[in-house]
Every structure is written in structure tokens, then in C-alpha cells.
């Protein structure tokens, strides 16, 4: 592992990239009402790798969607990189996602009609900006796909596709990268590659990563572990081994 880049490390260690205050989310009405989040307050400082875990229906995905500006809280506020999200319209939210947020999805979600390089720079293309060639170079080396750049997604393995997706998420140097079950569709070897890549993006590039997962081994790569249960945070602690995480999950269940 090479030395962390000084430029990418945030100047203030306590610099908060994204925070939620008293966030609730209710779906449906009346008898069909579902309380996905029941008052969550949490903040994510810069340059750390966060894992959010919890059983199905615990609200972990909802929390991530709300933090990323894909969904709106019923009550409460979300601040991302100094911007209060709940007051933004669709247009501003779209621009914020484009410039400030990176996404990695479980099913890769690459555009099949574009080759690997075009997929990586897609957020920049959408914004109508030229990629910084130096940054792009580092990124391509980091994901290890230099010889695959002209291949289309159908010609890449699942692990390779997910590495392209991570490079795409990092391309705009966003304030936060959200990863939604990034290893959910991968075998263990590819999973390791992807998790190490996310880890390196934090250590080397000072990226802030928030990952939702239900794989304890994946969560063990994180610096911080949040456990959700029934719409509330039930655990907020530091890094842990997979075994310790499994114990925590058992306690929470």
C-alpha cells in the first residue's frame, strides 16, 4: 500500500461529509403505514469507510437512499457537504448527485452500450466536463483495468464490472461514495478485490465511503460499523472482525 496522498486527506479530521438529524420515513397511509426509519441522527466524518448493517426491513437501504438524496425523509434534515437536502428541488438534487455523490450498485448497473472507459467517465460526460487526465490515470491504475478499457460490460467479469462501477463513482471525486451491497452479486475472490478497492479509495484518496451490506466479512473492511434495527440505530462502533460482527448481529436480532 502506498503512502496516502496529502492532497486528498481532509484538512480537518472532524470535517463532516454527510449527516442526518432526527430522520423518520413513513411509507403508505393508515393501516398500511410502514415506519422505515423512526428517528435517526448520525453523521459521517470525511475520509472514513462506514458500513451499515441490519436485518431485512431494518431501514438500512432507506437510510442510504435518504442520505444520498434519492429519497426524502418524512421529517428531519439531511446535510450533504454543507448543503441541506430536504429543501432542494429535483433539479438541484440531480446536480448534487452528479457532482457530490458517487454510487456503486449491487447489480453494477453499467451501460451496456458504452465501453469501460466511457462508463467510468459517464458522470463527467453527463455534466459536460472533461476528465482530469492525471486523476483518470490514477483511477484506472487503482482499479487495475488498463487493458480492459475498450471492452464493453458484456465482455467483462462481474468483478471487473464492479471495479468499473467503483471507478465511475470516484471519477468526479465526490464528497461521499454510497455502495449498496457492492459484493452481493460477486464470488468471494471478486468480493475481496472490490472491498480492497473501496478500502484503498479511503486510505489513498481520502474518499468517504458509506456501504450498506449484510455480509459480515464485507463490513469487517470498514472503519466504523452502524447497526440498524427496526428503523433505529442500535449499534455505532469501530472496526470489527467478521466474527465479532456476526455476534453483534445475533445480539441485535
Amino acid at each position: 500500500m502506498s503512502a496516502p496522498s496529502s492532497a486528498a486527506i481532509p484538512s480537518v479530521a472532524t470535517d463532516v461529509r454527510v449527516s442526518a438529524t432526527d430522520v423518520t420515513r413513513v411509507y403508505g397511509e393508515g393501516a398500511a403505514e410502514v415506519h422505515a426509519l423512526r428517528g435517526v441522527t448520525v453523521s459521517f466524518p470525511a475520509g472514513r469507510f462506514n458500513a451499515i448493517m441490519g436485518p431485512s426491513g431494518s431501514g438500512k437501504s432507506t437510510l442510504m437512499h435518504i442520505l444520498a438524496g434519492l429519497d426524502r425523509p418524512t421529517t428531519g434534515t439531511v446535510v450533504l457537504d454543507g448543503t441541506e437536502l430536504t429543501s432542494l428541488g429535483d433539479k438541484e438534487l440531480t446536480e448534487l448527485r452528479r457532482d457530490q455523490v458517487g454510487f456503486v450498485f449491487q447489480s453494477f448497473n453499467l451501460l451496456p452500450v458504452l465501453d469501460a472507459r466511457e462508463n467510468i467517465v459517464l458522470p463527467l460526460s453527463i455534466a459536460g466536463r472533461k476528465p482530469d487526465p492525471e486523476w483518470l490515470d490514477r483511477l484506472i491504475d487503482a482499479v487495475g483495468l488498463r487493458d480492459r478499457l475498450t471492452h464493453r460490460p458484456s465482455e467483462l467479469s462481474g468483478g471487473q464490472q464492479q471495479r468499473v462501477a467503483i471507478a465511475r463513482a470516484l471519477a468526479t471525486r465526490p464528497a461521499v461514495v454510497f455502495a449498496d451491497e457492492p459484493t452481493g452479486n460477486l464470488d468471494s475472490k471478486s468480493s475481496t478485490e472490490v472491498l480492497e478497492l473501496l478500502r484503498r479509495s479511503v486510505d489513498e484518496f481520502g474518499q468517504t465511503v458509506i456501504m450498506v451490506t449484510h455480509d459480515a466479512r464485507a463490513a469487517s473492511y470498514a472503519d466504523r460499523l452502524l447497526l440498524l434495527g427496526d428503523g433505529r440505530i442500535v449499534h455505532d462502533g469501530g472496526a470489527a472482525t467478521p466474527e465479532a460482527i456476526l455476534d453483534l448481529l445475533k445480539q441485535a436480532a
Binding site: L70, D71, R98, V101, N109, L111, P112, I126
Partner: protein
């Protein structure tokens, strides 16, 4: 299983509506055409029934050859005395009736544009009268006239007002003494009718001593059939005797035959729309079958047979077909009104009185629409049956369509080749006109199908080429649009091919029209040496020979050469001649006013025409029928005369004025009964000012023969081009239906593709693509598809036009490049229009829902 089919059908209402409309529009034109023409026919039937109701037997001259617009043969007036002398005849009376031009007191032409006006004689006997008086009375003396109440109302003419009439005789003024109705209706099917006393009508129509018809009533106890038999025995074979009912039926049939062309033409355009609609149906079913592969596989695992799957898909087609046809049928009734308006807009007013909806209209509309839909769904249905049950268990990999198989490609190439061969056979072979037209029509359809099947191979390069500049302008949205159109080349190809057909036909018509205009211009410039041309004010009807006689006396006018047209049928020395069209010329003056090259027979061939029973033949006609100077042909003329004619020469008329055979005008009057001129070529004396002479000629014509116009060569050229443009406008309007259908196809394909790409769109939105960018992407996708269709159509249309104009003598091929470029731009804009709805749908997708979409 039935339930499954209908659930699939009604689950997507937009798709259902769009696909049903694709069929409905073609059906609309079918039912609209039938209702339209049936209504016209019915109103004429009523008129003819009414006008013959008091007639037991009717006598007319036997027509040797039916002519489209030439003069029909007449009876000699003394025949009436012979008829009256028959013991079975109680009453008999003669009448005349022919086309004329009617003017109001101020000299303005009255009558609906395009619909002819008539002058007839009023019978002295009420039982033979077609009309009844509405106001005033019937005419009693030569200065009096009645006019149909419909025209009187439209033009504000009242009893006591003056009107003028011009036909064979010079313009004559009459006092209106009454208005009349036919069968209790004011309008004579849209035409203006003026009735005069018989001698005056004969004079006006140039039929002094002649009759068009003798109506008879039998003595009590003599049936119409007995009367007919008696008259047939007593009268010469040159006349035809019919019962009153037969006469009415014959008149109805004649109108039907004349309108038959219109019906066929409109149905042909309906066929084009349905053909395009079939592409849309095929594409829609192909896409939905592909999207539902897993569903079919699941049904198969649960024990559904192949036949059941097939029935499910075809059942969907059946419901869709019936639904679309029903909608089309209903729209057709509305369209019948629209068609009337369309024809009126281009100057043809047709009569109507209450829409006639025949059983045949309903049957044909529903049957054709349904059969086309089910047939188009057949290939996709067959593919649905081939889905192996294992597909249901396959996870992750979305099943995709394979490209065209080798077999399809070979078949497509064969189909294209067959199409081209059929067209060539139709164009260059020697067969009847109908056979040639069927061959060409079938050939074009086969070529379109073949090219459509081959087009998946063209989609990639074309999309790539068309998309490149778009990508440069639009950036990532253009890039994605371009890639999306190339993603499923087969789907894009069929969508574009539907538009291709419409664009190809528009291109074809444009090139044909441009060529026709060029050819006319060239003919006028190179062949016409006359300074002025006299013609009917509608541009094509024959007009009184008196007009040119009057023009001859105008100061400054030199030679005047009338041109007449007629038809004949007959045999050459070695083969049948069919029905050659015939031109009459004045041999003494013709060649000084019009350049025509005599290929065989030498310079004296033209002079020989004056000796009678001599004709000269057009180059192509002579070649096709093995005619040479000295050949003798036997012709039957419209007056039923059979004459032996010697061919004196062969000419090459690059200007296209002379028809298959040319005679002396006197021969046309004598043997063909044609005494009217169709064109007059007028030379100017040396040293005279053209405009001044034109003004003087115009003044003379306006005074005595206002139904004729005089034009300078340039005006004549413009006027003829104007007629071409008018026809072109009508064709464009009818083809626009096929283009609209193909736009539904683009909308449908986009909507289906978008639903397939929901997750992708969700991701794009999640990583920061704005709604506007999504819309733009869809729009460009539609534009690229439309441009592919436009380009293919323009190229195919050009090739067809070049091919089809090969056999035309003297046709100047001219490609209207600017028009074609405009056409392509319009195709692109049509794409933008087609994208409005799909783009809005795509932009409205909820990001989270889309990401979770399976």
C-alpha cells in the same frame, strides 16, 4: 390461457392503443373510401331513377368505343318520327343533354369547381321530365331557362334574373323562369344544370338536328319489355334500346365506372397504410414476445402446450385486430367527410346526400384489418412457441433476440430480387395495362419487404453515420441515443422500414412530379413554336370549335391549329391494337406551330392525312404493334363506325402532345364524332406584340367563348405544372396517413424499449442525469431512427423513380435534391414529434422504483 393473453394485452394500455391505431388508420381509409364513393353513387342512382321513371323504353346511339371525356354519339332527329309511328308507342320525345359552362348575370362562371355543369332540354311531357319545378315554371320559349334549385340558392339566382350559357355555340343569355329539383332534392349531385326548350338546347350544344336520347311510353297493355322488343325490331342496329329501368342502371353503372378509378386509387393508399401498419404490429409483437419469454417458458413448465402458447399470442392479435378495425370503421365515417373536404380543397367537389354504410363496408374493413393484424403476429407467435421451458429457470441473463438468421437473409435477398424482377417485367414487358400495374405493385411491395428484412444490416452503419454529427452536437445524450438505436438492429430496422415505405413513396412521387414538370417545360420550350395556346378554362375539357374560329379572325393572329382527342379500338396487320388514343391535327398548320420529327414516311406523310382514312403512328406504338408506312389497320370509332386506315408514317413526338395515332381533324369529326377541340395552337404574325395579341384574343374569347382561356407558352407551362403540383398535393396528403402510422411505430418501439431499459434509466438518473437530458436522449434516439428510415426511403424512392421513368418517352429525369433534403429534415422532425410521449414517460420515472425494477 385466454386469460393470460388478455391480461398481457390490457396490462399495457398505451401499447394497446398505439398498436390498435396502427391498424385502425389503414382501415379508416378503407371504410372512408367505401362510404364516400357509395354515398356519391347512391345520390346519382337516385337522380337516374327519377329521370327515367316515366320512360318505358329509351333509345340511344350505340357507342363504338367508350371515351373518357370525348363526345358521345347522337341520334338523327328524323328517327323520332319513325319511333312515333310504331303501333306500340303511345308517346315519344327526344332530348339532348351535355356539358356546358354557366355564367351569372355579371359573367362569373358558376357551379362548383371540378364538378361539371350541364345543359339539357325540358320535355313537353311531364312523364319524361327528370325534374319538378320548385319555384316559377318550365321554359316555353328560346330565351327562357330553369336552373337547379341547389345552384340557384348557392349563387343567389332568383326567378327573373339572367344567366348565360356557353357550350358549342357562343355565349347566350337566358332569363331564369324557374328553379327545379330532381327526386325532390335541390342539388343534382353537386352539378349545375340548366334546362332549355329542346331547339334552343340543341343549338347551344351544337346538336341541331340531333338527339342524345329518345324516351318512349308504351300504349296501355304493352309492357316495357314488349315495347323494347318492338322498337329493336323496327330500328336500325346503330341504336340501343333499353327499358327505363335498364337505362337508369346503365347511367348508374357509367358513373360507377368513372368513380371506379377513384375508389381503386384510394384503396391503394389504404393498402399502403395497412402494409406499414403490418410492420408496426409485427415489431410490437416481436418485442413483447421477447419481453415475455420468461412468462411463456413458465407456462410451458406448468404444462402449457406449444399450441396453447401460440393461441395466446394469436388471440391477442385477434382482439387487437378486431378492436383496431372497429375503431377504423368508426373513424372512416368521419373520414368520408374529410375526404370530401380534401377533394374540395384541390378543386373537385363531389356530391353527397347522407352517408351510405353498406354491409360490404363493414365486412371488408373488419376482415382486412383483423387478417392483417393476425398475419403480422404470426411470426412472433411462432417464435413464442419455440421458447424452451428451461428459459424460465435461467436467472440473471436477460433473454435477447438473435439477429436475422442466414435463412432469413437469403430469403430477403431473394424477395428483393423477385420484387425488382417483377417491376422490370411490368415496366418493360408487353402485357395489358392491368397486368403491368399488378406486376409493378407486387414488385414494389416485395422490394419493400425484402429491403426491410435486409435493413438490420444497414442499421449499424447508418445509425453510426447519422449519429456521429448528433453526438458531436449533443454530447453524451447523442452518444447514448446513437448506441441505443444500434443495440437491437432488427427492432430499429423494422421501425425505420415502416417510415421508409412512406418516405420512399413520397420521394417517388416528388421525383415523378419534378420530372413531369421538367418534361412539360422542355416540351413547351423545344416543341411548341406557337406563341399562344387556347384551352378550356379547366385545362383539359374539349371546347367549342367556334372558339378557335373566332380567334382566327383576331388582328395579329397568324396560323391557328386545333388539336382534338379521341379513342378507337382495333386490329393491326399482325396483332390487336388494344384501345389506342387518337389525336386530331390540322395537317396544313400543325408542323409550323409544333415540332415533331417524322421518322418514316417522309415529309409527305403529314400531308397525306388530308386525303382521309390515313393516320401516322407514334414511334413506340408502331414498334409495339409492328406498324410501318403502308400497314393497314381496322379501327372501330366511338360512333361505332369501322374504318380501314392506312399508316402513312411514323413520328417521334418528344413533346408528348400526339397520342398513339394522329389523324386529320376532319376525320375525327367525320368518323369519330369529335367536333370539339382540346387545344388550340395559335401563331402570331411577324412584327406583332405577343402580349397585345393575347389581350385581343382574350377579349374575343371572354365575349363569345368565356369557357376558354388563352395562355402564352410560359403561362401554359406554369398552368400545366400547377396541375401536376395539385395532383402531387393530393398524393402527399394520402401518403401522410402511411407516415403517421409509421410514427406510431416509432412511439411504440420507444415506449417498449424504455420499459426494457427502466433500470438503466434509473441508474442514469441516480448518478446525476437530469430529466431534460433523459428526454433529449430519447428524442435523439427517435431522430436517428427516423433519419435511418428517411435515408433508406429517399434512396429506395429515387431508385424506383429512375426505374419507373425509364420506359417513358421524352421523360426528363430530374431529382429535386432540395425537396429531398427538406423531406429528410421533416423525417427528423417527425422523429422529434414521435418522441414527445416516450420522452416524457422516461423522464417521469421514479429513480428508486426504476433501480428496483426487474
Amino acid at each position: 390461457m385466454g386469460k393470460v393473453a388478455f391480461r398481457g394485452l390490457f396490462a399495457r394500455k398505451l401499447r394497446l392503443a398505439l398498436t390498435a391505431l396502427a391498424i385502425a388508420l389503414g382501415v379508416t381509409l378503407i371504410s372512408g373510401t367505401y362510404v364516400f364513393t357509395d354515398t356519391i353513387n347512391a345520390s346519382f342512382d337516385r337522380i337516374f331513377q327519377a329521370s327515367n321513371k316515366g320512360t318505358d323504353a329509351s333509345i340511344t346511339a350505340r357507342e363504338g368505343v367508350s371515351t373518357d371525356q370525348g363526345t358521345t354519339p347522337t341520334l338523327p332527329q328524323p328517327l323520332l318520327a319513325k319511333v312515333r309511328a310504331q303501333p306500340e308507342v303511345a308517346q315519344a320525345e327526344g332530348s339532348v343533354f351535355d356539358i356546358a359552362t354557366v355564367f351569372d348575370a355579371k359573367g362569373h362562371k358558376i357551379g362548383a369547381t371540378g364538378s361539371p355543369s350541364f345543359v339539357g332540354s325540358v320535355s313537353q311531357l311531364a312523364r319524361f321530365r327528370a325534374t319538378t319545378v320548385k319555384t316559377g315554371r318550365f321554359p316555353r320559349s328560346s330565351g327562357e331557362a330553369v336552373i337547379d334549385a341547389g345552384s340557384a340558392q348557392r349563387e343567389g339566382i332568383r326567378v327573373g334574373d339572367r344567366i348565360a350559357v356557353q357550350a358549342a355555340a357562343r355565349k347566350t343569355t337566358f332569363r331564369v323562369v324557374g328553379t327545379v329539383q330532381v327526386a325532390g332534392v335541390d342539388s343534382f349531385g353537386g352539378s349545375t344544370v340548366v334546362d332549355l326548350v329542346l331547339p334552343e338546347a340543341q343549338r347551344v350544344l351544337g346538336k341541331v338536328g340531333r338527339l342524345d336520347q329518345i324516351q318512349t311510353a308504351g300504349r296501355p297493355g304493352v309492357t316495357p319489355v314488349e315495347l323494347r322488343a318492338a322498337l329493336r325490331r323496327a330500328l336500325p342496329p346503330s341504336v340501343v334500346v333499353r327499358t327505363g329501368q335498364q337505362q337508369a342502371a346503365k347511367e348508374s353503372r357509367d358513373i360507377r365506372d368513372q368513380l371506379g378509378f377513384l375508389t381503386t386509387a384510394l384503396l391503394a393508399f389504404a393498402g399502403i397504410s395497412l402494409f406499414v401498419g403490418a410492420f408496426i404490429i409485427f415489431n410490437t409483437f416481436s418485442i413483447t414476445v421477447t419481453q415475455r419469454i420468461r412468462e411463456f417458458a413458465l407456462l410451458r413448465t406448468l404444462g402449457a402446450s406449444r399450441a396453447q402458447v401460440m393461441r395466446a399470442v394469436l388471440g391477442e392479435g385477434l382482439v387487437l385486430g378486431v378492436l383496431g378495425s372497429a375503431v377504423g370503421l368508426a373513424l372512416g365515417l368521419v373520414t368520408a367527410i374529410g375526404l370530401r373536404a380534401l377533394f374540395k380543397a384541390v378543386g373537385v367537389e363531389l356530391p353527397s346526400s347522407g352517408a351510405v354504410i353498406a354491409t360490404r363496408t363493414i365486412l371488408v374493413s373488419v376482415l382486412v384489418g383483423t387478417v392483417v393484424t393476425v398475419a403480422s403476429a404470426l411470426a412472433p407467435a411462432l417464435r413464442a412457441t419455440r421458447v424452451p421451458p428451461i428459459e424460465a429457470l435461467r436467472e440473471g441473463v436477460a433473454p435477447t433476440l438473435k439477429g436475422p438468421s442466414r435463412l432469413t437473409t437469403i430469403l430477403a435477398a431473394l424477395l428483393t430480387a423477385t420484387g425488382v424482377a417483377l417491376m422490370c417485367l411490368g415496366l418493360f414487358g408487353h402485357q395489358s395495362e392491368t397486368a403491368a400495374l399488378s406486376l409493378m405493385g407486387g414488385g414494389v411491395a416485395a422490394t419493400f419487404l425484402g429491403v426491410a428484412l435486409l435493413s438490420p444490416y444497414l442499421v449499424r452503419p447508418l445509425a453510426s453515420a447519422v449519429g456521429r454529427p448528433i453526438q458531436r452536437v449533443a454530447g453524451i445524450t447523442g452518444r447514448l441515443a446513437r448506441e441505443n438505436t444500434m443495440r437491437q438492429p432488427g427492432r430499429t430496422a423494422v421501425t425505420a422500414a415502416a417510415l421508409m415505405i412512406g418516405v420512399a413513396l413520397v420521394t417517388f412521387a416528388s421525383i415523378f412530379a419534378a420530372g413531369a414538370r421538367e418534361s412539360i417545360a422542355k416540351a413547351v420550350d423545344e416543341n411548341l413554336t406557337a406563341g399562344l395556346v387556347v384551352q378550356s378554362d379547366d385545362g383539359f375539357s374539349p371546347f367549342s370549335a367556334g372558339a378557335l374560329a373566332a380567334v382566327r379572325r383576331v388582328d395579329g393572329v397568324g396560323r391557328v391549329s386545333p388539336i382534338r382527342f379521341s379513342r378507337a379500338e382495333g386490329r393491326g396487320p399482325s396483332q390487336d391494337l388494344g384501345k389506342p388514343s387518337v389525336t386530331g391535327v390540322d395537317p396544313a398548320t400543325f408542323r409550323s406551330l409544333y415540332q415533331v420529327e417524322i421518322l418514316q414516311g417522309g415529309e409527305q406523310a403529314m400531308r397525306a392525312l388530308s386525303t382521309g382514312r390515313v393516320a401516322i403512328a407514334a414511334k413506340r406504338f408502331a414498334e409495339d404493334h409492328d406498324l410501318h408506312p403502308g400497314s393497314v389497320v381496322r379501327l372501330r370509332t366511338p360512333t361505332n363506325a369501322v374504318i380501314g386506315v392506312r399508316i402513312a408514317g411514323v413520328y417521334d413526338d418528344k413533346g408528348g402532345l400526339l397520342a398513339n395515332l394522329a389523324f386529320d381533324n376532319r376525320e375525327l369529326a367525320r368518323e369519330f364524332g369529335e367536333t370539339k377541340d382540346s387545344f388550340g395552337l395559335v401563331g402570331i404574325r411577324p412584327g406583332q406584340n405577343l402580349q397585345a395579341v393575347e389581350r385581343r384574343v382574350k377579349a374575343v374569347l371572354d365575349r363569345a367563348y368565356p369557357a376558354t382561356d388563352v395562355l402564352t407558352a410560359k403561362e401554359f407551362k406554369d398552368q400545366q405544372s400547377g396541375q401536376v403540383n395539385q395532383l402531387l398535393g393530393l398524393i402527399y396528403a394520402l401518403l401522410s396517413l402511411a407516415i403517421i402510422v409509421s410514427l406510431f411505430g416509432i412511439v411504440n418501439t420507444l415506449v417498449l424499449s424504455i420499459s426494457e431499459r427502466t433500470r438503466e434509466l434509473g441508474m442514469l438518473r441516480a448518478i446525476g442525469t437530469s430529466r431534460r437530458q433523459v428526454k433529449r436522449m430519447i428524442r435523439w434516439e427517435a431522430v436517428i431512427t427516423a433519419l435511418i428510415g428517411g435515408l433508406l426511403g429517399a434512396v429506395l424512392g429515387t431508385i424506383l423513380a429512375v426505374l419507373f421513368t425509364r420506359p417513358l418517352d421524352g421523360f426528363v429525369l430530374s431529382i429535386p435534391v432540395a425537396n429531398l433534403l427538406v423531406l429528410l429534415v421533416l423525417a427528423g422532425l417527425a422523429g422529434v414529434l414521435a418522441a414527445v410521449l416516450p420522452a416524457r414517460r422516461a423522464a417521469k420515472l421514479d429513480v428508486l422504483d426504476a433501480l428496483a425494477y426487474e
